[in-house]
């Protein structure tokens, strides 16, 4: 075990994965500089420029070439620098990566990982703060996962590399260096289809994922200080959604607040709310609340705090469910 932050845990995961000669890492600036967030720092020196590949600036090319490599039997890990830069690769992801297994009825597959740092909160330039995971979770044929702890980051990335199907692996930019934890050395895997109950409680169930888990965990503490017992579920996997722990918790608490920083309309919270009421309506004691980003463009640095959900907003939503 070594104490690592999320960026270090991901670096370690890639280092472990690259021990397999069929694994390649490719993307813009991933090699010589170790990536814009230094997640792949040192890997090109250790594993060589033929497998830790600095590509031209071309996201469609990166994903499309990785797709060809994957079909040929390699295990590529493609990095897109920021979620806002993933859109040039959107057609490759949706029309080819997500579909090849079905359009060839299992004859050809794309066992590849597309790593995408996402989310706001670091005051980055325009297009660098997107949280548009819904469009990928909405696409049949993709797994979409997002860790919120160093332990999950490493175990889920190794599971994603080993997965026989394509995985969109979202990395919460805001948490890269903000969360530390004990991470096992060597290889281990964390399931890609299980949500995790990270706090148990009796009054309300908080549901979140990725970068927002920091606010969710802090909300649990803030509520405890005022005598409210909150449960919290880290979804970890957005496609397929595992709502069993959410439903089980809501059956106990009768209240639910879903949190994401993505825009509200069409966001995953809508899907979660719909599914929870289908399965646990008669346990509910209050309408399910959503705390999300707004249906606005993510504001730039000086106004970001108006957009990203805060502990205060989540606590206020919990209060509404308690007063209903």
């Amino acid at each position: 075990m070594t104490e690592r932050n999320i960026a270090q845990a991901l670096n370690d995961a890639l280092d472990v994965a690259l021990a397999d000669p069929s694994v390649v890492l490719l993307g813009e600036d991933v090699g010589r500089t170790g990536g814009v967030f230094r997640v792949s720092d040192g890997l090109q020196q250790r594993h060589g420029a033929a497998r830790v590949i600095d590509t031209p600036v071309a996201e469609s090319g990166i994903v499309g070439a990785a797709f060809g490599m994957a079909v040929a039997g390699l295990r590529p890990v493609a990095e897109i620098q920021f979620m806002g830069f993933s859109y040039p690769a959107y057609d490759q992801i949706v029309s080819h990566v997500a579909r090849i297994r079905n359009r060839s009825r299992h004859r050809f597959t794309a066992p590849m990982v597309i790593r995408i740092p996402y989310g706001a909160g670091i005051g980055a330039a325009e297009h660098h703060s997107e949280s548009t995971e819904t469009i990928y979770a909405h696409t049949p044929g993709l797994k979409v996962v997002v860790p919120s702890t160093p332990y999950d980051a490493k175990g889920m990335l190794l599971a994603a590399v080993a997965d026989p199907d394509p995985v969109i692996f979202l990395e919460p930019i805001r948490l890269y260096r903000a969360v530390k934890g004990e991470v096992p050395d060597g290889h281990y895997a964390v399931s890609l289809d299980e949500a995790e109950l990270v706090a148990d409680g009796t009054d309300v169930t908080l549901v979140g994922y990725g970068a927002m888990m920091r606010e969710v965990r802090r909300t649990v503490e803030a509520l405890a200080a005022e005598g409210v017992s909150a449960a919290a579920v880290d979804l970890r996997t957005l496609a397929p959604l595992d709502l069993d722990p959410v439903v089980a918790s809501v059956e106990r608490t009768g209240r639910c607040v879903v949190v994401h920083e993505a825009p509200r309309t069409g966001g995953l919270a809508g899907e979660i709310v719909a599914s929870v009421q289908e399965r646990a309506l008669y346990s509910l004691r209050a309408p399910i609340e959503r705390v999300t980003g707004w249906d606005t463009v993510v504001p730039l640095r000086r106004s970001e705090h108006h957009y990203v959900p805060t502990v205060e907003r989540i606590v206020a939503a919990v209060h509404r469910t308690l007063e209903a």
Partner: protein, 351 residues
């Protein structure tokens, strides 16, 4: 505005009259085999057009006139190589081992068409225009990573060169010297738009210069010229000398698809002009002049190839359609719980 420079003459080995303008790259027996394959491809093409008129398939994209461009290029490949092609490249795909059955299943609307037999390195045809060329770069790149020598050949039209993905594919292939052979069938038309509206370049082949790779302009209706260019490109690719762009100048004799009416936008005079350059007829003349062709033999192979296609059609149409649950089974190795629930609902006709 100055007039663009005149396009150079495409490489030609076999003239429309069937004479050799240069040494043949292939022995007569092989040319005869390839001719028979072109006859087979044309039989398939005609059969699918007929099936569309009979309402047995929804839409079909004919390749008539492009048989030499497709079969001549694939003739330079080995079975371990890859073919990444489009909806208009059935001849190329079939010649690399993709059965007529699969092609017919695909066109009649059955996903099982995309399942090439084991060992046949042919991806299902790309339906979106242009995105597939970079896949051939990745497939070839995998050879570099693994240290084997499989080459990937990709087919596309003149219209696809306008897509941004053409640039990204060519650029990656140039930078990483991947063993990729780009075969542009410049058939003059992208649905209703002529080649001149896709690019102001004098040729498409010359675009290769900008990517630091070889570019070759060939008569796409000349089986031997296409083969020679592809053969050289494959040798270069295997030797680690990188990619090649081949522009095969040909003509789309049919409409874009069976739903298109080419009479709305093009002159029938062109058709007569290109019919005189038919890729099968010039090989037939060459074979006849060398004592390798008779009307009886022609008759026999036409009947034989048509019967082979017919048998594949019967097999495709006899295959029971999917049950509701089957549409879920192509999505993942292990169907996630949420999708299993949906499959049950679909099977029950519920939800």
């Amino acid at each position: 505005m100055p007039a663009p420079p005149a396009a150079p003459q495409p490489l030609q080995i076999l003239t429309p009259s069937g004479d050799l303008a240069a040494d043949s790259p292939l022995p007569l027996a092989r040319i005869k085999d390839l001719y028979r394959s072109m006859v087979a491809a044309r039989a398939y093409d005609k059969k699918c057009s007929a099936m569309q008129r009979q309402g047995r398939l929804a839409t079909y994209a004919q390749f008539e006139g492009q048989e030499a461009a497709q079969i001549g290029a694939v003739a330079a490949l080995e079975p371990r190589d890859w073919v990444v092609a489009t909806y208009r490249d059935a001849a190329a795909m079939w010649f690399h081992g993709y059965p007529w059955l699969n092609l017919i299943l695909g066109r009649t609307g059955d996903e099982r068409g995309g399942h090439a037999p084991a060992g046949v390195n042919v991806l299902p045809p790309s339906i979106t225009v242009g995105a597939h060329m970079i896949h051939a770069v990745g497939l070839g790149w995998a050879s570099l990573v693994r240290g084997d020598d499989a080459v990937a050949m990709t087919f596309f039209g003149d219209g696809a060169t306008s897509e941004g993905d053409f640039h990204e594919a060519m650029n990656f292939a140039g930078v990483f010297r991947t063993p990729t052979v780009f075969v542009c069938q410049n058939n003059g038309w992208a649905i209703s738009m002529p080649r001149e509206r896709q690019t102001a370049s004098a040729t498409i082949a010359q675009k290769a210069d900008a990517y630091g790779m070889a570019g070759v302009l060939v008569d796409g209706n000349d089986l031997l010229a296409v083969y020679a260019a592809a053969h050289e490109a494959v040798i270069r690719a295997r030797a680690g000398e990188g990619a090649t762009l081949i522009e095969a100048v040909t003509y789309r004799m049919g409409p874009h698809t069976t739903t298109d009416d080419a009479g709305r936008y093009r002159d029938a005079d062109h058709l007569a002009e290109w019919a005189a350059r038919d890729p099968l007829e010039r090989v037939r003349r060459h074979l006849e002049a060398n004592g390798e062709w008779t009307a009886e033999w022609q008759h026999g192979i036409e009947i034989g190839e048509a019967e082979t296609v017919e048998a594949a059609v019967e097999e495709a149409e006899a295959l029971p359609a999917f049950d509701a649950g089957d549409i879920f089974d192509g999505m993942f190795v292990d169907l996630p719980v949420a999708l299993r629930r949906q499959r049950r609902a679909a099977e029950d006709g519920a939800g």
